[in-house]
Each structure stands twice: as structure tokens, then as C-alpha cells.
Symmetry: C2
Subunit: 193 residues, 2 copies
Amino acid sequence: MHSKLLDYIRQHATLPLSSDEEGLIVAAFQPKKLRKKQYFLEEGNVCKYVGFIVKGAMRQYSVDDKGAEHIVHLYIENYWVSDRESAVMLTPSKYNIDTWEDTELLIAKVADMLDLIERVPSFGQMTRLMDQRSFIVSQRRLNSTISNTAEKRYEEFADNHPQFIQRFPQHLIASFLGITKETLSRIRKQAIK
Amino acid sequence: MHSKLLDYIRQHATLPLSSDEEGLIVAAFQPKKLRKKQYFLEEGNVCKYVGFIVKGAMRQYSVDDKGAEHIVHLYIENYWVSDRESAVMLTPSKYNIDTWEDTELLIAKVADMLDLIERVPSFGQMTRLMDQRSFIVSQRRLNSTISNTAEKRYEEFADNHPQFIQRFPQHLIASFLGITKETLSRIRKQAIK
DNA sequence: CTAAAGCGTTGATAAATATCAACGCTTTTT
DNA sequence: AAAAAGCGTTGATATTTATCAACGCTTTAG
């Protein structure tokens, strides 16, 4: 069960991983299964866990004054899931995170993660890389959002993330892109011609 | 000249900073002055330097097919400036970074930064915190962009970043928010009433 | 000192996108 | 098996935002 996580760490660090270190990691991460639609984190709570998705699909979203959901993240296998803002700042989360499919996770307490970062150099390396990548991805998305039309944003997204298109329904993709489901439907209709 | 940087590091790390370590940091960072409108990084080049702004104001922007500029970042004193995507991935940058005012920087080679991260624990701590914060800020901005109207985005921005409003002209703020300068002008007119 | 460029504003119009309502089809629940 | 909920689509319309053009005012450059 933990082997997927250990593989992932090895692939994202240059430093080696001793078997002692592997033990520390395995000890910190517990398997957790969530059925479709179950919450990993609810708005208002402080995010105390970080999860690594072994199998499944999840989403992170905010709910505005009118009750409309806005998808801020979609996650599938090999993604790290948490509300970083809440976990780092120890503030109540503005987001909900739940499962879109039955999902198998490996979860660790945020505090234990910090411990591993100090104790296991390759783990620290991996998380640093993750932090940087998250920022880069977020920047690209932001740049795309302020620079492009809805149509271009969808095309870019579909090109770069075909897995998500297959896995999540259109209305979630639309919300992720910051447009309505009707607009996305029309964009797709255009694209075919 | 370097004291502002050393202070900054101390404030953003829990670990102490020995005088040996201070020496390493000072050695890695060279002062650099840029006159208004000079480039720190030009599109197409790999970002080889990271800068810490001691005094001044800068911007990072992309230029689309039609020659329109889209501001992705505004920077002032105590901000770190670089194209992270280019620096981390070692790919040609899609952005320009230039000065909006005469600016004093402390710059270090990306490679030397990586060295410091390994050698000086508190420096590593500080950069990790910066990475996390950058991501959080980027996430907030993204969430605001997909959830709110232009008007709310401007209000939020003006509330949270009054320094930027004072320091940069409206058309740059507009571009930063992903709207045209005319629209921002009209939003501001409404707001007064 | 004068010309040019930069900046913010306004008006008229066009384009993009949202909203509201309704419909068929499929999947899930009872 | 029937009812309900979820999903994508379409049409009519409203709203938001962009575009284009012009103008005064200020700052910068020659």
C-alpha cells in the first residue's frame, strides 16, 4: 500500500532513501478509504491532514454567498491533497475538499509531515519540489485566466490535462475554468465544427 | 546594504543564523542597481538570477500575440523577484521582468541559492516559507478571479494591497486584475458614489 | 521651452459570458 | 418498476466587459 508513495518520493528527489527512513515515512502515513462524496476537509475547519491519493479522484471548492460552488482544484492519483493555506497558516479553511469517486488515500498529520521534512532529507527535497511545482501550475493557470478567452482556456486545459476531461463531468470542468456549464457546452459545440 | 536581507531571513526562519552563515549569504548576493524601465529578465531567456528588492518597484508580465501586456506580478521592497518557472525548470521564460522605478536589488545566481539552501538551514527554512506563501497568494488570487466580478476583485485587491494602488498606475493594476483600464476606471467611478 | 508620450476618463458600440427556463437522456435511489 | 437526481444541451434574454476613438491633463524628453 505504501509502495506507491515511496516510489513517488524516490522519483521526486535526488537524494537516496534508506530503509530506516522508509520506516519513518510508512509510520507517519495511514491508509484511509473514502466513499464517493465524503468530505476530506470541511469549510471552517483547520486542515490537519495531508493526503496522497493512491487511487480515486477528489475536488476542492469554495461556496460563495449565493451557494454556488467554485472548483479550485481537481485531484487524481499521485496528487497531494490538502488546503495549504489552512495547513500552513493554521487558519480555518475557506474550502471544502471531498471525493468525487471512491478514493484510497495515505494520510499524515501536518505536524508529522513537518517532522519528516526535517528528519528525511529526500522527503524534504520532494516537498520543496512539490511546493515549487504547485506554485508554477497555479501561476500558469492564473496567467491563462487573465490573458485568454474562455475558449482558449478550455483548449489549453483539454490539451494539457486530458485525464481530467475524461474523469470529471463537464460542469466541474466549467467551474474549474471559471465559466458556467452552459458556456462550456457552447464552446465545445463550436470546437467540433 | 545586506542587512535588510539578513533581517528578512531572521524574521522568516525559526532557526538561528550564525555569523559564518551570514558570511556565506553576503558572499552570494551582489548589489545591483537598475534604472526605471530596465530589464531584469527578458522573454526567451532562462532566469539565472533571483533578486531581493531593497528599494524600488518592479513588474513581471507576458506579451500576447496582439502585443498586449498582461501583468502577472507586481513587486516592491522586500519582495523576491524571479521567474520561478524558468529558474526551476531551466526553460526559457515566457515573461519579462523590468523595473517600474529606479531599483536597488541584491541578486544571487539560482545555482548559488540552491547551495545556500543546503548549507544554511535558516535560509532553507525561509525559502520554503516563501514557496508556500507564493503558492497561497497565487491560490487566493486565482480563487478571487474565478469566483468574483471585476468590481469585487478590485475592492479585495485595494483593501489587501493599498501600497500597490499608490505605487503603480491604474492601467497596470487593471492588467494585473485581468481587466481593461477603461473598465477599471468605470469601476472606480461607481465605487465613489 | 516645446513636443511627445503617458495617463486617466468618457461615450458609443460590439463581443463575451451569465442567467433563467425548459427539455431529453442516463444513472441512482427508493 | 417508478421516482428522483444528475448531466448536458438549447433558446431567449440580460449583464458584464472589451474595443475603438477622442479628449484633457500631467510628466518626460529633446
